[in-house]
């Protein structure tokens, strides 16, 4: 069948994506000096990542031990967990069947701390309004006036253009076979697919692409998440993934477009085009949740852990 799709398409993408918001990141941060000079860019990135590698994990450790730094609930929960563990065998006795294994029984070690809860919550509310008031209506109008093949083509084009990012991160994670697939896909789609608007590499040759980013690369080196962060425009992240996205920024070709107008324009188009494919997903997730903030936090963490594990 011919419905082989590029594996980048995520339904949680708007809320949880790495790439989608990079485009806005790219266009909103005043990093023009860094953009002009790759040398400074590399130095800057090395410093940031080194700092994070050292500090990132110790922040978590510190956060676990300082009262008041973590959410006040954490200690209570830990206590309640211990207390109620006897009850587990109670009821009709079925709970002791570890159906869900140890998989989602979160110990303090497994869950990601949220020391900036109030800040994060404010940004979360802001992003929510931004989606309903701006992003969604714009993406809807855009979907209405733009033919489907063009939207798909643009999505393919932007995906293809992020080849350097995927390639480097596949290499950094020692995934040689995947890096080779990336090269093949990039060459075939760029040449045979008109700069990547069509995807003969996927449709005809069945070559996959593999979304790997800096955050995942750090994760594969056993760097912990640090703590949870919600970023304006970009959505859920963690300390590790935020630092990673700085690295990704420099691996995105659009960073090196000279004209700021063009860079901003393309970044916005990428984002709107992307959202136009997943209108309704965020709404459904929110509707199903009892606490949307926690639901989205957990979804992001679970999704990233799965990606790193793969």
């Amino acid at each position: 069948m011919n419905s082989k799709q590029i594996k980048s398409e995520k339904s949680l993408y708007f809320i949880c994506s790495k790439y989608g918001y990079n485009s806005l990141f790219r266009s909103t941060l005043p990093l023009s000096i860094l953009r002009r000079s790759p040398f400074f860019a590399i130095i800057f990135f090395l410093i940031v990542s080194a700092t994070m590698a050292v500090a990132g994990n110790s922040v978590v450790v510190a956060a676990d031990h300082l009262p008041g730094v973590t959410q006040p609930y954490e200690n209570l929960i830990a206590a309640a967990d211990v207390q109620s563990s006897d009850d587990l065998e109670g009821g009709n006795g079925l709970y002791s069947d570890d159906l869900y294994g140890d998989e989602y029984i979160k110990t303090p070690d497994q869950s990601v701390a949220d020391p900036l809860y109030w800040f994060n919550y404010a940004i979360f509310s802001f992003n929510d309004k931004l989606y309903f008031w701006v992003l969604k209506p714009v993406a809807r109008g855009y979907r209405f006036i733009t033919p489907d093949p063009l939207r798909a083509g643009l999505r393919n084009f932007f995906h293809n253009s992020l080849f350097p990012l995927r390639f480097v991160n596949n290499l950094l994670q020692g995934k040689g076979d995947q890096a080779v697939s990336e090269v093949k896909s990039f060459v075939i789609n760029t040449v045979g697919g008109g700069l990547g608007f069509a995807t003969p590499a996927q449709y005809v040759f069945g070559i996959n692409t593999y979304n790997e980013d800096m955050g995942q690369t750090f994760g594969s080196y056993s760097v912990k998440e640090g703590f949870y962060l919600v970023l304006p425009l970009m959505g859920p992240s963690t300390l590790r993934d935020t630092v990673g996205s700085v690295g990704d920024f420099f691996l995105s070709p659009m960073t090196y477009i000279e004209s700021t107008e063009l860079a901003v324009g393309l970044g916005t188009l990428d984002r709107i085009n992307d959202v136009s494919f997943r209108i309704g997903d965020y709404e459904a997730l929110k509707k199903a949740a009892l606490d949307p903030y926690i639901s989205i936090k957990d979804a992001y963490i679970q999704m990233r852990r799965k990606q790193i594990q793969e």
Partner: protein, 204 residues
């Protein structure tokens, strides 16, 4: 170049999918369950607006036969399950299954299902639990509206029972695990309050 591509594409499309040597039992049960749901969605008898409620009920019944909402609820409540009385549990299961079904059925209802395609990529038998409940993980790729979403189903079979779904993971995000995380901090809320909250959520 274009010609070659067309020919290659043609060959690709004409090649029938290679049938697997032996489909595992849970996968067959899942396929049947999912197909039953899709056939309701595609049934023109239910397409008109005044049939919407009837269709919703039918979809819920079909879902109930493959999903074990009992285990869903237990898993979602996590440690809080122990605080619920027998009656409260029944109440919770009743409303919680409605909440999940409503969310997804509502989403399904305003979408076009002509280009829906599901491929079953991998079925893996997991270790049985201590008390001998068999478990399986079934990986699928769902293609819809030009978007591919990986969906994994967790299925289990109790002794003398049937294979049922006890968790769904969409892009690696476990539905049960997500609710469990939301309920994790609710140990001070009474079971009645938790049930009431779901009722309100449904009526919204």
């Amino acid at each position: 170049m274009k010609k070659i591509m067309t020919v290659l594409l043609g060959i690709l499309l004409l090649t029938p999918a290679v049938p697997k040597a032996a489909d595992l039992e849970p996968e067959i049960v899942l396929r049947n369950g999912v197909n039953a749901i899709i056939s309701v969605l595609n049934d023109p008898a239910f397409a008109s607006a005044n049939q919407k409620d009837a269709r919703k009920e039918l979809l819920f019944n079909k879902a109930e036969s493959v999903f074990d909402f009992n285990e869903f609820s237990r898993g979602a409540l996590g440690r809080n399950w122990g605080r619920f009385s027998e009656n409260q549990r029944t109440e919770f299961i009743k409303h919680f299954s409605r909440l999940i079904a409503n969310t997804y059925i509502a989403k399904i209802d305003d979408e076009n299902f002509e280009d829906l395609k599901i491929t079953y990529t991998k079925t893996e038998m997991l270790d049985a639990t201590k008390s001998g409940i068999e478990r399986a993980d079934i990986a699928t790729d769902v293609f819809h509206n030009k978007v591919m979403t990986p969906v994994n189903y967790r299925m289990m079979k109790k002794k003398g029972g049937e294979w049922k779904i006890y968790d769904v993971k969409i892009e690696g995000v476990s539905l049960v695990g997500n609710y469990r995380e939301q309920y994790r901090t609710r140990f001070n809320d009474s079971p009645d309050k938790i049930i009431q909250e779901i009722k309100e959520k449904i009526s919204q």
